[in-house]
């Protein structure tokens, strides 16, 4: 398994899998497969995929440690960049379909609505992470500072969950929110447990 993940194939396969939702959405939009309100479907689907990629990227380290599949670490950056890829699409879909790409309307909406503000903040916090996700940036920052910066992803996870919760609160539809909260809670909880048990040793 470790050897499989280390092959030259692992990255192209991850790239292909990560792009599949995007390819499907583009196809579905042009083939009229998104139902009566395709704009809403696109805004929601890109948000869903951002959350899913976020869960995946947060799962890499726990999986690596528990399974000993050290080669998983090689794929983490790509999954992280997929979080950013889908959040950019999500922001674009919202800006275009809901706001007609009117910058003033978008700015007003962000300022006026906590639920939009929280989502936008998550996007803003992700931006420096995406921008420093190449080797030269790691060297320039130094590993320690780079790692500290990239811990922002935990805050992003919290903000993303709050954004999703607030969105669904309008219709009191919390079943899916609870699923994502349980997954992210487990993945972050594992880190706290790991950290505190290390301290005791």
């Amino acid at each position: 398994m470790n050897r499989g993940l280390s092959t030259a194939w692992a990255k192209p396969v991850t790239l292909t899998l990560g792009l599949l939702p995007f390819v499907w959405l583009v196809y579905a939009a042009f083939a009229d497969q998104l139902g009566a309100n395709p704009q809403e479907a696109l805004v929601r689907a890109t948000g869903d995929w951002t959350l899913r990629m976020l869960c995946l990227v947060l799962a890499v380290t726990p999986l690596r440690v528990m399974s000993g599949l050290t080669a998983l670490a090689r794929l983490r950056r790509m999954v992280g960049l997929f979080v950013y890829f889908y959040v950019c699409l999500h922001l674009l879909a919202y800006s275009w379909f809901d706001m007609g790409l009117v910058v003033e309307d978008i700015a007003n909406d962000i300022a006026k609505r906590p639920f939009i503000l929280v989502g936008f903040l998550a996007f803003v916090l992700l931006t420096p992470l995406a921008a420093t996700s190449f080797n030269r940036a790691i060297r320039a920052l130094g590993a320690r500072r780079w790692q500290a910066l990239h811990r922002l992803v935990y805050a992003v996870a919290g903000l993303a969950l709050l954004h999703f919760f607030w969105m669904r609160a309008g219709k009191r539809n919390f079943a899916e929110v609870a699923v994502y909260a349980a997954i992210i809670g487990t993945l972050l909880g594992w880190r706290i447990w790991k950290y505190s048990s290390k301290k005791r040793l």
Partner: protein, 268 residues
Amino acid sequence: LNTKASTVDGANTMEKPTAYKDASTYNNYYEFGTDKADPAVNAHTLKTSPWTVEIEGMVKKPGKWALEDLLKLSPMEERIYRLRCVEGWSMVIPWVGYSLGELIKKVEPLGSAKFVEFVTLADPKTMPFVGSRILDWPYVEGLRLDEAMHPLTLLSFGMYGEVLPKQNGAPVRLVVPWKYGFKSGKSIVKIRFTDKAPATAWNKAAANEYGFYSNVNPNVDHPRWSQATERRIGEDGLFAKKRKTLMFNGYEAQVGQLYAGMDLKKFY
């Protein structure tokens, strides 16, 4: 369904009706699921016959009306109404029915009656989501008596010339075109006349978001999104611009006087 043209002012918008497929597959009917596509998939279990609507409360003639008798109460009219959902989308739907006022006149409300409460079916055996905690079932809606008596307020039995699809609220529902869609209760089983404003389903769930009146109003935003614009379902492809939402959903000339002097920011 046999219909005659409606002579009620404002009852026939010239706008292009939404495709039947969209109107019958993109629904909010939480008793059958929270996803818009769920009701069309799940509502086949709804049993619409026999069906009775009970009239109770402050009326001279309370009692049970069989659906067959309701269908014969007044001539069926086709009314092409705009439908504006609180979520920010809209449709144009040719409904079939008659003014609710026709029924109200028959049952003779007492002078003390000021409000009308509409209770809809909540049958856990045929409605899979009635057990969920999303809302306090049954779904209850309400109108002021003068709103209920307004000729545009429609008791509807059909759409697009046919009997209502189950996911659209068969066999009998309300359509109040100048209010957000959720004010128009589906699959009605009880109409109650009262002197107090009824506790309505969404108002009980989130009072700061869904008021009793819930008139379509581009100037009063929902706490989490703007109500200034709306997306007309099925209009002009993916990159169509949203259209401006009209005061009282474009029915201001007909219903504006019902709210004369009221602060619509307060009574949202």
